[in-house]
């Protein structure tokens, strides 16, 4: 399936969970938060919540600012 991860088009196997998306793309899991299509997915749901085709996934963390 094709999804967007942090704005980048990405091809992944269909039916992956949020946890599997992070693992597959080698993204950090500490101090990050994930939103799928503009809704935060709590860390406690990462291993159950699946990412559908055409989803937009945002993975954010704290950087310098303010």
């Amino acid at each position: 399936m094709s999804i967007h991860v942090n704005g980048r088009p990405t091809d992944l196997r269909t039916g992956l969970t949020v946890q599997e998306v992070l693992t597959t793309l080698n993204l950090p899991r500490r101090d990050v938060a994930v939103a799928v299509d503009g809704v935060v997915v709590p860390r406690s749901s990462w291993s159950e919540s699946t990412v559908g085709p055409d989803s937009s996934v945002e993975v954010v963390t704290a950087m310098q600012g303010g």
Partner: protein, 255 residues
């Protein structure tokens, strides 16, 4: 002699200087600035993960609290989502709420700001809103349940100081929550003035992080915050239009 601690929501802060991290050249420089001031509240921005280094570990190692912000948001909806992501990522309900009108002025969009503040307070956040120096807006933010208000002295990054001291003083007199002067500080005297006007704390970022010697400027602004607080609470003399001799007038030579 030092300042009294500042209580905001559940957090007691010994230092009344909050540090912004935008523009800092390195994590080592950030650590030096925190050490130079003893600041206990340090801002971070929420951004997509990348190869860049996060300041989180430095902040934690220094024993400071993290204050995530919603910098870069132009609508209430963007700010609310960013705040929710910050809470999820960092495990804090503190949020420095910034909703700006455009990239050129970076001035707060008051309509979007009030909307976002209300939604975030309802969602259980401790909201620190970056706002204009308008008294009525500050009062509305306090009435909504924000834990502090953060009026600007001048536009972000401008270093112009406090363009309208009377407006800042009026906000300090009118709201019951802590007032944190945010944006506009260029050097130590600006921070001292903010405290003398009645502010409870000062947030400085650019003035420190982009100074030639950030740690030295951090120390200077930290000292100015303390000096301003002490002066405010020492009871300054009234201003007079004529001189008042400081030496005794009795026993003058030739009298």
């Amino acid at each position: 002699m030092t300042t009294e601690p500042l209580q905001i929501a559940d957090t007691k802060l010994r230092s009344r200087l909050f540090l912004g991290t935008g523009g800092i050249s390195s994590l080592a420089a950030l650590a030096a600035c925190i050490a130079a001031t003893g600041t206990e509240l340090v801002t971070v921005a929420m951004r997509r993960v990348s190869a860049g280094s996060s300041p989180l570990q430095v902040i934690r190692d220094a024993g400071a609290h993290v204050l995530p912000n919603t910098a870069g948001c132009f609508t209430a909806a963007e700010a609310v989502l960013t705040a929710q992501l910050a809470r999820e990522a960092l495990g804090t309900t503190r949020i420095k709420l910034e909703v700006v009108a455009d990239e050129h002025t970076l001035l707060p969009d008051t309509v979007e700001l009030l909307d976002a503040a209300e939604r975030l307070v309802d969602d259980g956040f401790d909201v620190f809103p970056y706002t204009t120096d308008d008294l009525v807006t500050a009062r509305r933010l306090a009435d909504l349940g924000c834990v502090a208000v953060m009026p600007l002295g001048a536009p972000i990054g401008s270093g112009l100081g406090i363009c309208n001291p009377r407006a800042i003083e009026a906000i300090c007199d009118a709201v019951d929550v802590p007032v944190v002067l945010d944006a506009g500080v260029g050097t130590a005297s600006d921070a001292a003035l903010a405290m003398e006007l009645g502010c409870d704390a000062v947030l400085a970022a650019t003035a420190i992080t982009r100074a030639d010697d950030p740690a030295r400027m951090a120390a200077a602004i930290g000292a100015a915050v303390e000096a301003g607080w002490l002066a405010r609470h020492a009871g300054r003399i009234p201003r007079r239009t004529t001189a008042l001799a400081s030496s005794p007038l009795d026993g003058l030579v030739g009298s």
